[in-house]
């Protein structure tokens, strides 16, 4: 009996399907013929008297598309109705001047969260620029930053840069030092740093600068806010990790920077070179850090760009003072080895190479494919080896407004430890 009912239902369905299909086809053919004939007939009728609407069946056939795009239309109508666009523009106007000497940009990065950056140029002085940044994220993550930059404060060749920030990172990770640190040893801590640094700059050429910076930083280390991870003190003790509770440090930095890119936003030729030496010391802590960061852009053909990067970080204890664990060079995160969690590998020294291939998909959208390798060492000169390097690869899109304004980065990076999705707004996320 049940089988018969099922058969009957199936037949009902088939009949209905055939009926509807036949109806649609005949009607479609019908309206097609009708339209063709009506066209002929219509062609001799006054235009204002013609039937120009769609037939019933066509209106029905358009329904799926109408329904699917309904939310889109509601959004557009809602925006119009609420005058949100006007409101947004007015808000932007309040913060952004016509000539963009005053400018506001929304900003987002995984490390700092979402917020905005306000920039005021021509402050007191022709070339003086003030920047204020505030962004907030989950677990009370925050970055409050202010900077004053004037590349020609004293003369055309002598400038000054003052930078101060408070950065609260509630879920920093530490896996233990060493290139073989295990994923299972992941621990969590909260790092809050307040930093002030003033740098005198000398510009022998417009694209080249030497800097001497003096700064002060205060770092406090507390229990991490990521409840899914064990705390730092569950695996490590203060005697194992210098700077276990943080500390205050004075810093002196010497820096050489050369920017030979043909365009800052989307370079296709040229390169950047950074060489920095940083001396930091406190009562118990102290170290010297050397950084070499070289980037090269090569246009392969018709706008396709190969971007290469080599970076080396090296730290040395300053006498009997040690490098605090949170200042150890690290791999993983938004910048170096994007397929790994932030600071997945830390040790005294670091070596990193990457290659990124960029293809313009249209004038505003670039696709990137990258591969990167890195390794940390206890002592890069003594322990250097080509084995056990960690690699990460991936790709994504970079969207750039025609005026270089809005930059959006969407990247997917993969490594031996999984896949990470990275999103950044107005941030050079993972950029070479």
């Amino acid at each position: 009996m049940k089988k018969e009912q099922r058969t009957a239902k199936r037949q009902q369905f088939i009949y209905l399907l055939i009926s509807v299909t036949l109806t649609f086809c005949c009607q479609s053919q019908g309206f097609a013929q009708q339209k063709a004939d009506d066209d002929a007939a219509d062609n001799q009728r006054p235009v204002q008297e013609r039937d120009v609407g769609d037939s019933f069946i066509e209106n029905v056939a358009e329904l799926p598309g109408q329904i699917i795009t309904l939310p889109f239309h509601l959004l557009v109508e809602g925006v119009k109705l609420l005058q949100l666009q006007r409101g947004y523009l007015r808000m932007t106007d309040w913060l952004t001047s016509e000539d963009e000497t005053r400018r506001f940009r929304p900003i987002f990065s995984p490390g700092s969260g979402g917020g905005g950056t306000f920039t005021q140029t021509n402050l007191f002085h022709n070339s003086m620029r003030l920047r204020a940044h505030a962004s907030f994220g989950n677990r009370s993550r925050r970055l409050i930053l202010g900077s004053l930059h004037d590349p020609a404060l004293f003369s055309q060749k002598w400038g000054f840069h003052l930078n101060a920030f408070n950065h609260r990172k509630p879920d920093e990770d530490f896996y233990g030092a060493g290139n073989d640190a295990r994923e299972m040893d992941r621990t969590d801590f909260l790092e809050e740093e307040t930093n002030v640094m003033g740098t005198f700059l000398f510009y022998p050429r417009q694209s080249m600068s030497f800097g001497l910076g003096v700064g002060y930083s205060d770092v406090s280390i507390n229990a991490g806010r990521d409840e899914g991870q064990p705390n730092l003190d569950s695996l490590f003790t203060p005697s194992q990790l210098p700077g276990f509770f943080g500390g205050t440090m004075g810093t002196v930095t010497l820096k050489f920077y050369r920017d030979a890119r043909n365009e800052a936003g989307h370079p296709t030729r040229g390169g950047e070179q950074l060489l920095a030496v940083q001396f930091s010391r406190d009562g118990d802590l102290g170290f010297v850090k050397y950084t070499l960061d070289l980037r090269k852009y090569i246009e392969l053909f018709y706008g396709r760009v190969l971007a290469l990067r080599v970076r080396g970080d090296m730290t040395e204890d300053l006498g009997d003072r040690e490098v605090p664990f949170y200042r150890l060079p690290g791999l993983g995160g938004e910048d170096l080895l994007k397929g790994y969690q932030s600071f997945r590998f830390r040790d005294d020294d670091l070596a990193y190479v990457s290659a990124e291939y960029r293809v313009p998909l249209n004038p505003m959208v670039y696709m990137t494919v990258f591969i990167e390798e890195g390794r940390v060492f206890r002592n890069i000169f003594k322990d250097f080896t080509m084995s056990n390097w960690h690699y990460s690869y991936g790709g994504g899109l970079r969207l750039r407004a025609p005026n270089g304004g809005l930059i959006t980065t969407i990247l997917i990076a993969r490594s031996a430890e999984g896949t990470r999705f990275l999103f950044g707004l107005n941030t050079e996320l993972g950029g070479i």
Binding site: Y15, L16, D39, N43, V76, D93, V359, M367
Partner: protein, 583 residues
């Protein structure tokens, strides 16, 4: 099985009702003897419509995202595409032409304009007064194309747009040249003039403000004016070259969209995406490399003419045409991809950029600063992309394309030369270059579209020497030199009420249809048997020729059917009453 029987009954009843309610299945249209409609009569008096704003983002989002998704899920559209049964334009007359209206006036396409007329275009004066102060009454001091609204000593109001520093003629020449082509085609355009103005003639009026990009009213200062002038190109004598666009007559009521109708305009009956002149503009705009056909580059004006008040529709901005990119020279990418060509982006991504498109090899190619990138080599009339997808262009069929191509082809080399001259290029070589490229692009346009449709046109009855009747026509592909008459064969047969009356007759190389003995006999038979079936003897005497064309050794292509009224012997001359073209 009562259930299945019931379902089948309901389904078949539904089918029956729909079929019965659809007379199209069983009837066909019949032409009557009457002249083709020449006026749309959409200029009846109406109340002034409200100003209609079309937001840039709204227009862009709708056409870039909303409409394509809607079309993707439109089953009827897919069915039409599969069966090559496209929805044709709704405002054409029986000869497949566009009647005059508030949108379009037949000009060069139907009656050749003289050189003077082409060069004058819509201009009725000489531009802003040559002497006296020019009072700045409005300004657009920011953005890609800054300019002023000025009132001259005669009291006429113009909007001035300048060339950018380093790019003489680049912005101003296309504004005039493209406008004159578009006007000659039949569209409404503003009066644009090239003017050279000494800087000291400008004077800032009282209380002039402008709306900045954040929609805030800002006072215009003398420094702002100077800033605009500083960015403008100066002639050798220190004057500024500008295009002066005369204020349109009437009251502005906002731009028109290329789809739907204006609800507050009682004369706006045909959805704009179903108007042939809107669809066919695709071909003209592509020819002129005019890629920015968004709603905001149009304007509806509420005008008063002959005591009637109605809306006239204008196309107003040609700043991104020929080789002008609006904010500098155009690139070779122009016309190849729109702002968000997702399909192309995916393809490029999948091929990791190793697929190089021809236009990319031309990027950065050195061009004249007065012309920008404007070529014919990479121009593809069948695959031209506009910055934002245009809903009327999306609906364009081959018939619309053919109509547009006929207009493009109506410009002879001399016509093109005459109009380009009015761009007043500083260097003769630039003028010659633009002329040459337009000629080459015109030919590509014609060659492409005349292959898509049987390009026979201008049918008329002529008296033959042997007293037999002859229908002559122009084979536009042959007329314009794309095909050779000697390698072209036409076959045709007489039809009556959608039925063939005779077998095929053939005409090789000759663009005329002769009434041979079979045809004459068939007509006589019909005349003797037909006894006013319709009660209208004129309807009963409407016959048609269905004509197909063969080029070289290829098969016969699409047909064109020409309907004609054949009066009884001795009572008048035959008349062409309608044309149908296979799409």
């Amino acid at each position: 099985m009562p259930g299945s029987g019931k379902t089948a009954f309901v389904g078949l009843t539904l089918l029956f009702i729909l079929l019965v309610s659809n007379p199209g299945c069983s009837s066909h249209a019949q032409y009557t003897r009457q002249p083709a409609l020449s006026e749309e009569a959409d200029d009846r008096s109406i109340q002034q419509p409200d100003y209609q704003e079309v937001g840039l983002y709204e227009d862009g989002l709708e056409n870039v995202a909303g409409r394509p998704v809607k079309d993707f899920f439109n089953l009827a559209a897919h069915y039409r595409k599969l069966t090559n049964n496209h929805k044709q334009a709704k405002n054409v007359n029986a000869l497949q032409e566009v009647p005059n209206s508030t949108w379009f006036t037949n000009r060069h396409g139907t009656r050749r304009m003289s050189k003077d007329e082409l060069q004058r275009g819509p201009n009725r004066g000489t531009g802003s007064a040559a002497e006296g102060q020019l009072i700045i009454t409005g300004a657009k001091v920011q953005g890609v194309s800054p300019g002023f609204t000025i009132k001259d000593s005669r009291g006429d109001v113009y909007f001035l747009k300048f060339d950018l520093k380093g790019y003489p003629d680049l912005n101003t020449a296309p504004e005039v040249i493209t406008m004159k082509f578009v006007y000659a085609c039949g569209y409404n355009t503003p009066e644009n003039y090239i003017v050279n103005i000494a800087g000291e003639r400008f004077r800032l009026g009282e209380g002039v403000t402008y709306t900045n990009k954040y929609l805030r009213e800002v006072d215009v200062k003398v420094e702002d004016i100077q800033e605009v002038l500083n960015r403008a190109h100066r002639n050798a004598d220190g004057s500024y070259r500008a295009v002066a666009s005369k204020l349109l007559p009437g009251k502005p009521v906002g731009p028109f969209k290329y789809a739907g109708t204006r609800k507050d305009d009682g004369n706006d009956h045909v959805p704009h995406n179903h108007r042939r002149e809107m669809r066919g503009y695709k071909v003209i705009a592509a020819w002129l490399n005019s890629v920015d056909t968004k709603a905001n580059n149009t304007l509806d004006m509420y005008v008063e003419e002959d005591g009637r008040q109605f809306v006239r529709h204008y196309i107003i901005d040609f700043a991104t045409s020929l080789g002008a990119g609006g904010n500098g020279p155009a690139s070779s990418r122009r016309g190849k991809h729109g702002a968000a060509d997702v399909g192309n982006m995916i393809l490029r991504a999948l091929t990791l950029g190793f697929w190089v498109e021809p236009f990319e090899k031309k990027l950065g190619e050195k061009t004249s600063p007065s012309v920008g990138y404007f070529d014919s080599e990479l121009y593809d009339p069948g695959d031209f992309a506009f910055i934002i997808p245009n809903p009327a262009f999306k609906r364009a069929t081959e018939l619309d394309g053919f109509w547009g191509a006929k207009l493009v082809m109506s410009f002879s080399d001399d016509d093109i030369r005459a109009i380009v001259e009015t761009g007043e290029y500083s260097n003769k070589s630039d003028e010659e270059y633009v002329t040459r490229i337009l000629i080459e692009r015109r030919d590509k346009t014609g060659r492409y579209w005349f292959k898509k449709i049987n390009p026979l046109a201008n049918f008329q009855f002529v008296a033959a020497t042997d007293s037999k009747r002859v229908v002559s026509f122009d084979d536009l592909a042959v007329t314009y030199g794309f095909e050779v008459a000697g390698q072209t064969t036409y076959r045709y047969r007489l039809r009556y009420r959608n039925k063939n009356l005779t077998g095929y007759a053939y005409a090789s190389g000759e663009s005329e249809l002769v009434f041979n003995s079979d045809i004459v006999q068939a007509i006589e038979e019909i005349s003797s048997t037909s006894t006013n079936d319709s009660g209208n003897s004129e309807v009963d005497r409407i016959f048609s020729f269905r004509i197909e064309t063969q080029r070289g050794r290829s098969g016969f292509g699409k047909h064109v059917e020409v309907y004609f009224y054949l009066p009884p012997p001795g009572s008048g001359i035959p008349e062409i009453v309608a044309l149908e073209r296979e799409n």
